[in-house]
């Protein structure tokens, strides 16, 4: 482990397919798990039958109820899990690279506290925004999350410059304040208390394809944009001054990347709640295995995050079935020990 196995980016084209295959396996296992068992062959037949043109070649030899369970209930959930996992891991990787801080995760600048506060307000007051209907909660959560980031950024801005230490401190301050607001709402609410707490712990239940349709474009555009920033993130890692001397507009690049990561985080959090640990641990695991070059870290974190969250969700659904556990508990249960194990094995500093 002390010597990185694979460093050059040509190895990327070996590892991306491997990661994608693992993701497909985890997804199909997850879809076939549940109270009504459907074998994975049928699962994929149903999926293929939904693809235009390809579907004509598949003969339907399954029951309608199997199709409903797979396509309308389990599959949207697994796909959303993959998207949310990818989004959180990607955002975490960007935050860690830009803030040069190993403890950075998608929530460090308060995006999730803001979003949770917005969500709690919606749940308690039963708001309905005009024109967005049942998307009110994710929309409000997103707006609150993003506003929080802007407040943090403005607080940290001194003479047109934002220093790294200042922005992290500003994040802590704003989070503390919003945390207090949130606690106040929790204290004053009665029967909605459990709904809010469940939302905050993160869950992929109560999803259908419409949520995916909203989040997917944001995450995919964000992911593609972030890949163009790989050179810049790497450069920031060599030091702020070095980056400047090499032609990186440090302040502007940092701002754009934080906005990008926060939009991605906001999109994910708004539909699934603040699922912890994915954004912290997945980029670290990738870093420990493949080194600190963002040419490797970004793409592999995206797929790795998807694998991790789909797997965690499968565990959350089945381990105490029919009871479902909040996803955040499982991600921490799975992620923390594995991360600890990797940390022990890494003999030198790796960040």
């Amino acid at each position: 482990m002390s010597k990185k196995l694979f460093q050059r980016d040509r190895m990327l084209w070996l590892w991306i397919p491997i990661f994608l295959i693992i993701l497909l396996i985890v997804m199909s296992v997850s879809v076939s798990l549940g109270a009504a068992s459907v074998d994975w062959k049928t699962v994929w037949k149903i999926v293929f039958s939904k693809i235009p043109y390809v579907g004509d070649w598949v003969t339907a030899d399954w029951s309608d109820s199997a199709e409903t369970i797979i396509w309308d209930i389990r599959f949207p959930r697994v796909v959303l899990g993959a998207i949310v996992g990818a989004a959180l891991a990607l955002a975490g990787a960007i935050y860690q690279g830009v803030l040069r801080n190993p403890l950075a995760d998608p929530y460090i600048l308060g995006v999730s506290s803001g979003a949770s506060f917005g969500a709690a307000l919606v749940i308690v007051f039963g708001w309905q925004l005009f024109g967005v209907g049942r998307f009110t909660l994710p929309a409000v959560a997103f707006i609150f999350g993003f506003t929080t980031l802007m407040i943090v950024y403005l607080l940290a801005r001194v003479q047109n410059k934002v220093r790294l230490e200042t922005i992290i401190l500003a994040g802590v301050v704003v989070q503390a304040f919003i945390g207090a607001c949130l606690s106040l709402i929790l204290a004053l609410s009665n029967e909605q208390l459990q709904t809010i707490i469940f939302w905050m712990m993160g869950s992929l239940s109560l999803t259908d394809w419409s949520y995916t349709a909203v989040v997917f474009p944001i995450v995919i555009v964000g992911a593609i944009l972030s890949l163009f920033f790989i050179k810049d993130i790497n450069m920031l890692g060599l030091g702020e001054e070095v980056a400047h001397h090499s032609g990186v507009s440090v302040q502007r690049t940092r701002f754009l990347l934080l906005i990008l990561a926060s939009v991605i985080t906001g999109a994910a959090v708004s539909v699934s709640g603040a699922i912890g640990f994915v954004g912290l641990v997945v980029p670290h695991i990738i870093r420990l295995l493949f080194g600190s070059n963002y040419r490797m870290i970004l793409p592999l974190s995206i797929i790795g995050g998807a694998i991790f969250l789909v797997g965690a969700d499968a565990v959350a659904r089945t381990i105490l079935a029919p009871r479902e556990l909040p996803l955040g508990i499982i991600t921490a249960f799975l992620g923390a020990p594995f991360f600890g194990y990797l940390l022990r094995r890494a003999k030198r500093e790796y960040f």
């Binding site: 050059r8 600190s292 070059n293």
Partner: protein, 257 residues
């Protein structure tokens, strides 16, 4: 090539750099020397655009630095600082490759031309054997050579060095400076370096700028600058000036009283 005109830098009412003017011609190697706190490193920050002067103007190729844009400037100017690159776990090859950044557009990835350039430069500075090593496993001297290689692939016409040899042993001090010198001869590179070591400054620079308390005391050849009275006034110590037995240039010896 580089013109510094009446440049001042004030921080909280304190003048760090005061009315400094000098010019550097294409292909010249100029050294800035002076005691701690003389404003040497601030001059470097001002020229590299890291900080903005509170007065005066700096121009590169007759264009003010402030109008260049960070990326365009990096195509013309590379900077080597005393702590060089962070000991970041990234391979030597990848770190050097980053020097190509100013020549690539936002949407562009490094291509064969860039990889070839990196291989060539690694060969030149003798890093080929280390190219798959991680930066954090290298010694300070090796990491400084990586920083030079990175500056080389940047293909600048002006190289600025801010005490590049401070943390290095004598072997590496000479190694780093001779790499820079060879590069200068090959590409008609212009060099501005801040040096603490007056003997190395005398050996490697065509002209020296002696600074004290934010102002220029004197600009001239090593013969003109390495004078006993001048140095003892600025450094508050009395060095012995001797001749270098091989090159016949002034060198200093320190003696304890």
């Amino acid at each position: 090539m580089l013109t510094v005109e009446k440049v001042s830098k004030e921080i909280d009412g304190k003048k760090i750099v005061n009315h400094v003017s000098f010019q550097i011609k294409q292909g010249e190697c100029v050294g800035i020397i002076g005691p701690n706190g003389a404003g040497k490193s601030t001059i470097v920050s001002l020229i590299s655009g890291l900080e903005k002067p509170t007065g005066g103007e700096i121009s590169l190729s007759n264009r003010p630095i402030s109008s260049w844009g960070v990326k365009k400037l990096a195509q013309q100017m590379a900077v080597l600082t005393q702590d060089g690159l962070n000991p970041y776990p990234i391979s030597v090859f990848d770190a050097v490759l980053m020097g190509r950044y100013p020549h690539l557009s936002f949407f562009q990835r490094e291509g064969k031309k860039d990889y070839d350039k990196v291989e060539e430069v690694l060969e030149t500075v003798g890093l080929t054997d280390l190219k798959d090593q991680m930066l954090d496993t290298l010694s300070g001297g090796e990491r400084q050579r990586v920083a030079i290689a990175k500056a080389m692939v940047q293909e600048p016409s002006l190289l600025i060095l801010d005490e590049p040899t401070t943390f290095l042993d004598i072997g590496y001090q000479l190694n780093i400076l001779s790499i820079v010198k060879d590069w200068q001869r090959k590409d008609d590179l212009t060099i501005l370096m801040v040096l603490h070591d007056l003997n190395l400054a005398a050996q490697f620079c065509d002209r020296l700028i002696l600074m004290d308390e934010g102002e220029i005391v004197k600009i001239g050849s090593s013969e003109e600058i390495l004078q006993e009275d001048l140095l003892s006034k600025v450094y508050h110590t009395k060095p012995e000036i001797v001749r270098h037995p091989k090159w016949d240039i002034p060198q200093i010896l320190l003696h304890y009283e």
